[in-house]
Amino acid sequence: MTIKIAWRNIWRNKIRSLIIIVSVSSGLLAGMAVISLYEGMMRSRVRTVIETETGHIQIHQKNFLNDRMTEYYIPNPQLISDHLKNDMSVRAFSERTISEGMLSTASGVSGVSIIGILPQNEIIVSGLDQKIKEGFLIPREDINGILIGKKLSQKLKIHLGQKIILTVTDSAGNLTSSAFRLRGIYQSDNALIDEVNVYVSQQSIQAMLTLKNQIHEISVLLKSDEQMDECLRRYKIKFPDLAIDSWKSLSPETNLLVTTVDYYSFIILVILFIAISFGIMNTMMMSVLERRYETGMMMALGMGKYKIMYMIILETIFLSIISIPVIIPMALMTIQYYGEKGIDLSGMGKDMMYSFGFETTIYPVFPIEKLPSLIILLFITAIISSILPTWKSVQNSPIQALRN
């Protein structure tokens, strides 16, 4: 019966209840939107990192990542590539010869990372061809071709076909330079990368460094993310003398972002729900004060304080969760729709998103495993909002309440 009374009480002042229901709904919607946008951004960021930057796993000589010296190349790369070719979990892998160097043109100079690639491998492993904005991917036999990022081309005002000089220190410690022609300008989602990474054929950088088929990096793309931990473990056992890293350690900022985003969306939710809870509390307070006579009478008749309190708590909870069965499916459907269609945020500052390494189209995803905690959070909000009104509802003794 207390449930019945509580339920009917929330419909006594329809407008007021509606305001609360609407505000809880909008809070819930906003919360879910924030979570899904973040989740979408994170997932796409992780995809971008894996598919265009690091791959799932990279293999280096033990010292290479700390100190990118030419002599820290991978010994016996053939052994590793044979192993990877026979590994069922591997989709593709790419071997790279890397050197720090200096890029100079008629208009300026810039420090760069020169990456010697086998272009056809990079098509699969890092999607390099997809990133070409002007010109084209250097063909395998093109030993004079170079690709640079858009950011760098803007900085140095270089155009396709222009001559570029690369200067490196070879394995004997001599400074050597070679001339290249700009064949293509690429743009990734990460401006930081676009400013420093330049691509040439593996052959030409090996020649400059006086290396013979030596490589510094093997980037491995797996068939699925789930296989990563297992592969990581296997490779570490198989190649104990090499450094085996996952994207998580190669791009720690991305990994940190993924872990902190959960935390941020939780904080945003809490702030949202605190705002909602003030609304709920205020409404319940009004409702309780208006009904002082009535609650006094109920207590006089023999309804205990706890029953009255229970009634008020129930009313608050009803008001708070009544919209769930409508709003949550609605929100999930909307998120699903935009998850497929994508939300274009380029209007909000394409450059800003790009410079942080994010794509400008977000595909929101609601992590369904977070739904229970969202509902629990709403429940807690309701209960917290009901504390003061509940306490107030039993403050007056029956005769005080009945006197007016």
Partner: protein
């Protein structure tokens, strides 16, 4: 005040006259202290009610009727004296126990706005029985009978806002006595009614007093109501100045 051992139709089997006592208030006093000036609202009152009695409490405004009824009903505590309801001294009960005691032993009718607006007439009448956790079929049986008795059978499923003031008070009386309490206590139950509705309510109270042997004590200002009541207790300045039994009918 002499003891009145009146026999009611349901109390006959109990030979001991003490068992027929419903209210035994002994030497109760109550002083209010608003802003430091003491007001002696009730002065050393003795009150004795037996089962089946129908008692009106009268007196000028401020004479202490409400104060006295609140104390008998366990809503307020006297400063001194004892109030025995069916041999339980309610002045010694804790607040929590008093709530339970009121629920199980005392029926209340207030001056107005007695009903819970979100419940139907039937649900309001059942309210006490529901709190007492009485089984549904028992409740229904009782409610059907009572609504029939007061001629409100067709209004059972109607909300209080759709009932007249008199009808609301009748439902309140039904609620008070549906669970068969020791007595029904009413503070000016007819005050907000026109005289026709007031008489109607009184008729119903009298009818249920006769048919069920329900004990009533209520306050009133209405002389025409007073004229139809057998026992009338008059208060002036917190003291009983007369306690008369007139034979009517």
């Amino acid at each position: 005040m002499e003891k009145r051992a009146k026999q009611s139709d349901t109390g006959i089997e109990k030979l001991n006259s003490k068992d027929a006592t419903v209210i035994d208030a002994h030497n109760i006093s109550k002083t209010y202290n608003p802003g430091g000036i003491p007001i002696r609202a009730i002065k050393n009152i003795h009150l004795h009610l037996s089962k089946g009695e129908f008692v009106a409490l009268v007196g000028p405004s401020g004479s202490g009727k409400t104060t006295l009824l609140n104390m008998i009903g366990g809503l307020d505590q006297p400063d001194s004296g004892s109030i025995l309801i069916n041999n339980t001294d309610i002045t010694r009960l804790s607040q929590a126990k008093l709530v339970k005691f009121r629920l199980h032993h005392i029926g209340f009718v207030f001056q107005s706005y007695n009903l819970i607006p979100v419940l139907t007439a039937q649900e309001n009448a059942e309210f006490i029985m529901l709190l007492q956790k009485i089984k549904k079929f028992k409740r229904n049986e009782r409610i059907d009978m009572l609504f029939q008795a007061v001629g409100l059978s067709d209004k059972k499923n109607v909300r209080p806002s759709q009932l007249s003031g008199g009808q609301q008070q009748r439902v309140a009386v039904l609620r008070a006595l549906a669970s068969k309490p020791q007595f029904v206590l009413a503070d000016e139950p007819t005050a907000n009614l026109d005289s026709e509705a007031a008489f109607n309510l009184l008729d119903i109270m009298l009818k249920l007093n006769k048919e069920e042997g329900m004990t009533y004590i209520f306050s009133t200002h209405d002389q025409r109501v007073i004229d139809r009541v057998k026992r009338v207790i008059k208060l002036v300045d917190g003291e009983v100045v007369s306690d008369k039994i007139t034979d009517i009918l």
